[in-house]
């Protein structure tokens, strides 16, 4: 009897071990992914795209029992939410990471190195050339790489220049003005937009230039003085040494120009208060005629005006030339963000599987995921002409793609591809300006140093406050000297020293 019981127990134990082994081989995994986007249309359950993705993974990669959960947060909400999740131990498996935060995450062991996984990603490696390789190397710490960075398909249209100065060309035509070439021309255009009733409604309701707190704040004006101004990671070379753009030579001249423009009432005061969406609405409503934003914003306005039959039009124009012949719109081909894998994911959630999926998303072949992830379902959302290598969207706008769960929210390893822009599309014309290398001004340093994370308030707090107050006239231009002093006292010196050391080491 006892022998039978022992035998029975042994059989049961062996069966349970087998069952456990089988269960481990097909352990379901759900990857939590955090993206810095705001797409309210994206469905919480992932939509139709999730089903399609899972079927394609099974068919093309042999991957089953894999799910994903996309968390979308935009702007400063992203950092707050990410910090909260990390502090609570609920770190996402794969998330957007900025250059400023990258080193802190590495030092705290939050993110894992990716070199061993990237070695087995042939499609990613094939696209990681030139600037894309520089992007990848930008996120190196002690010889190891940590970030999956954006790549681009070959082609001029796919270059990094997506923004510029957008002008109401119908207003120019109505007022008999040419596109502004110099800063003085720009001033005259802004003056005319403000005072010459460009919309012809008899009301004093238009400003020359507007924008939002998040838009490029007069970057083209800084460019006219040879200064690269594009957020916190903006650096210039002066006498062979790096200086932060906000304390570079020429900034005071820019502030003088802008303060004068504000005094002449050419600048919409709301631009220092409102968010991008509100600025877009104001632009569409014709509240101001010039702003600095992306090609996509210009197109959003054209789409909104389309069908109104009023001949409203806007285009990206070349940035204006300054008094010394300098010009440029800031472009950063070397990205200041990437996507990282958390240490938790690397240790517990089959990172090789995740990387296989990421690589598949860059596979342009028929069994690859690139076209489906980026454009949706062929025949439903897009059509492809192999003769011309052109893609045509069959949907009215991108929101239909997001509603179905495709495109940006699930572009986990983005590759720039603009084959869907036809040659006669106004966006192609805009890109010919924004991607013209002659119109670019580049940062002298695109790397990361610890002081950037230690003193983030230098740009977002100190600079923005002084800039806004000087331009709006609350402070005189000479107050800029106080800013320079405070910048260096409050961590700017440390940041500059570290940046120069990092540049010397490159």
């Amino acid at each position: 009897m006892k022998k039978s019981i022992f035998l029975l127990l042994a059989i049961v134990m062996m069966c349970s071990m087998c069952f456990t082994a089988t269960a481990e081989a097909s352990t379901p995994i759900t990857y939590t992914i955090m993206q810095k986007y705001a797409y309210p249309e994206y469905p919480a359950d992932g939509g139709e795209a999730k089903t399609v993705m899972q079927e394609m993974w099974e068919k093309n990669l042999g991957i089953t029992d894999t799910d994903y959960n996309i968390l979308l947060f935009a702007g400063s909400d992203y950092d707050t939410k990410l910090n909260t999740l990390i502090a609570s131990g609920d770190i996402p498996d794969y998330f957007y990471c900025s250059l400023e935060q990258f080193q802190t995450f590495v030092r705290n062991g939050i993110i894992a190195p990716i070199d061993e996984y990237v070695a087995d990603m042939p499609h990613y490696n094939a696209l990681r050339v030139d600037t894309a390789q520089q992007n990848y190397d930008n996120f190196t710490y002690e010889g190891k790489h940590y970030c999956f960075t954006e790549v681009e398909l070959p082609g001029e249209l796919n270059r990094a220049g997506t923004g510029g100065v957008i002008v109401r060309t119908d207003w120019l035509n109505k007022l008999g003005l040419a596109e502004p070439v110099t800063l003085d021309d720009m001033h005259n255009v802004l003056h005319a937009f403000r005072y010459d009733d460009p919309d012809g409604n008899g009301a004093d309701d238009t400003y020359g230039i507007g924008g939002s707190v998040v838009s490029k704040m007069f970057s083209s004006v800084f460019g006219a003085y040879g200064i690269y101004m594009n957020g916190a990671t903006s650096w210039m070379l002066q006498d062979g040494k790096l200086v932060h753009s906000t304390v570079a030579d020429g900034v005071k001249d820019v502030l003088t120009v802008l303060q004068q423009w504000y005094k002449e009432d050419l600048i919409d005061p709301d631009m220092f208060i409102i968010e991008d969406q509100q600025a877009q609405s104001k632009y569409i409503a014709g509240n101001f005629g010039v702003w600095e934003n992306t090609v996509w914003s210009a197109n959003n306005a054209r789409v909104a005006w389309d069908g109104a039959g009023d001949g409203f039009l806007c285009n990206v124009v070349a940035p204006p030339t300054g008094p010394e012949g300098k010009m440029g719109y800031p472009v950063n081909p070397v990205k200041s963000f990437g996507y990282v894998m958390s240490t938790k994911c690397a240790e517990t959630k089959d990172p090789a599987r995740l990387c296989k999926i990421l690589d598949w998303m860059l596979n342009l072949d028929a069994d690859g995921g690139f076209m489906t992830v980026t454009y949706g379902l062929e025949g439903t959302h897009y059509s492809y002409d192999p003769q011309t290598d052109m893609i045509t969207y069959l949907t009215n706008d991108f929101s239909e793609l997001y509603k179905a769960g495709f495109s940006n929210p699930i572009r986990l390893l983005p590759a720039t591809d603009r084959r869907w822009i036809a040659k006669d599309d106004p966006r192609a014309i805009d890109f010919s300006i924004s991607n013209n290398l002659d119109n670019w001004i580049l940062s002298a340093f695109s790397g990361s140093v610890p002081a950037m994370d230690e003193y983030p308030d230098l740009f977002t707090g100190l600079w923005t406050t002084y800039f806004t107050k000087i331009v709006t006239g609350a402070l005189p231009v000479d107050a800029y000297d106080e800013y320079v002093k405070e910048f260096y006292e409050q961590g700017g010196q440390e940041m500059t020293d570290q940046a120069n050391e990092a540049l010397a080491a490159m």
Binding site: S76, D79, T80, N83, T84, I86, A87, I91, Q101, T104, F105, N108, G109, I110, D205, Y207, V213, D265, D268, P269, D270, F272, I273, I274, Q278, K282, N287, D453, P456, D457, G461, T464, T465, F467, T468, K469, T472, A474
Partner: protein
């Protein structure tokens, strides 16, 4: 006590969920205050966390930014104490004098409604109203945006706070006024007292204990100044006159991941608030031993 518990166990049971909630969300998290004395940053493993003592407090008090933030908090709180605190009292006194009950009820409903709007919505309303291009102020010739003027901005904080919450604040004062015996008013009317005299010699003294209790509670929150309101309405042009301790803690702690510094600032605020409550209560008790909350 045993007898009391046995006799009133249903009442203790009724209070139990609230006590558990209070312990869980107010007392237990106090252990997290120790973060303010460490070098913790977001994501740091606990083996790398070390004790730094009063380092963050020393840094805060030698940091011009924090001292400016502290001054803004006190200034805005004092403005609100001076204007926002008496507003519901005045409103309640006026409501009490309304004879037409039908009108009174409808008026009460109207003034309660703004309380239910979040500051996100109120901010949107204010931005639209005060836009110099598209807002109603344009028709009054206002050229400069109130949101870009640091001194006008503080007043806007006060008046928008009054607009939003004064009506709701009348509830407790109206309740206190309704408990006053009508005989006092009748006797006063017989003696020939006017409306204002009845208000001054009967209504106000009878609700004074309520006012004192609410004032003490308000003093305990004197360093609050209204995070939601300031966060939604402020911008770079007014940051140095509108940034308060709560928005500073949010920015430094939550957005920049410096949890230790944020905790230290928050702890400072709580200690000051608690001390003020005790001091104010002491002062009130000296004047009237029956008044106060402790």
């Amino acid at each position: 006590m045993h007898h009391s518990f046995k006799h009133y166990w249903q009442l203790y049971l009724l209070a139990l969920p609230a006590v558990v909630l209070m312990l869980t969300y107010r007392y237990l998290p106090m252990f997290g205050l120790s973060l303010g004395f460490t070098n913790y940053r977001v994501g740091m493993s606990f083996d790398r966390v070390s004790w730094v003592g009063l380092k963050w407090f020393q840094q805060m008090f030698s940091n011009k930014t924090f001292l400016n933030v502290l001054w803004n908090t006190v200034y805005i709180s004092m403005l609100k104490l001076l204007f926002s605190f008496p507003a519901p009292i005045l409103l309640a006194l006026l409501l009490n004098e309304m004879d037409n009950q039908w009108m009174k009820k409808r008026f009460q409903t109207m003034i309660y409604l703004p309380h239910f709007l979040s500051w996100t919505i109120v901010a949107g309303i204010l931005f639209t109203l005060f836009s110099t291009q598209t807002g109603i102020v344009k028709y009054f010739g206002m050229k400069e945006s109130i949101f870009l003027n640091p001194s006008a901005f503080r007043w806007m904080l006060v008046f928008s706070d009054i607009w939003k919450d004064a009506g709701w604040g009348t509830i407790i004062y109206l309740a206190a006024i309704s408990s006053i015996s009508p005989e006092y008013y009748e006797a006063a009317m017989i003696d020939g007292a006017t409306r204002s005299q009845r208000m001054r010699y009967i209504t106000l003294p009878c609700i004074s204990s309520t006012v004192v209790v609410l004032l003490l509670l308000k003093l305990g929150n004197v360093l609050d100044a209204g995070f939601d309101q300031v966060f939604m309405l402020s911008n770079a042009a007014v940051l140095d006159s509108a940034d308060i301790i709560d928005t500073y803690v949010y920015r430094i702690g939550m957005s920049q991941g410096k949890f230790a510094v944020g905790t230290a600032a928050g702890l400072f605020k709580s200690v000051v608030g608690c001390s003020l409550v005790f001091l104010a209560n002491r002062a009130v008790k000296l004047a009237d031993p029956e008044a106060g909350i402790m």
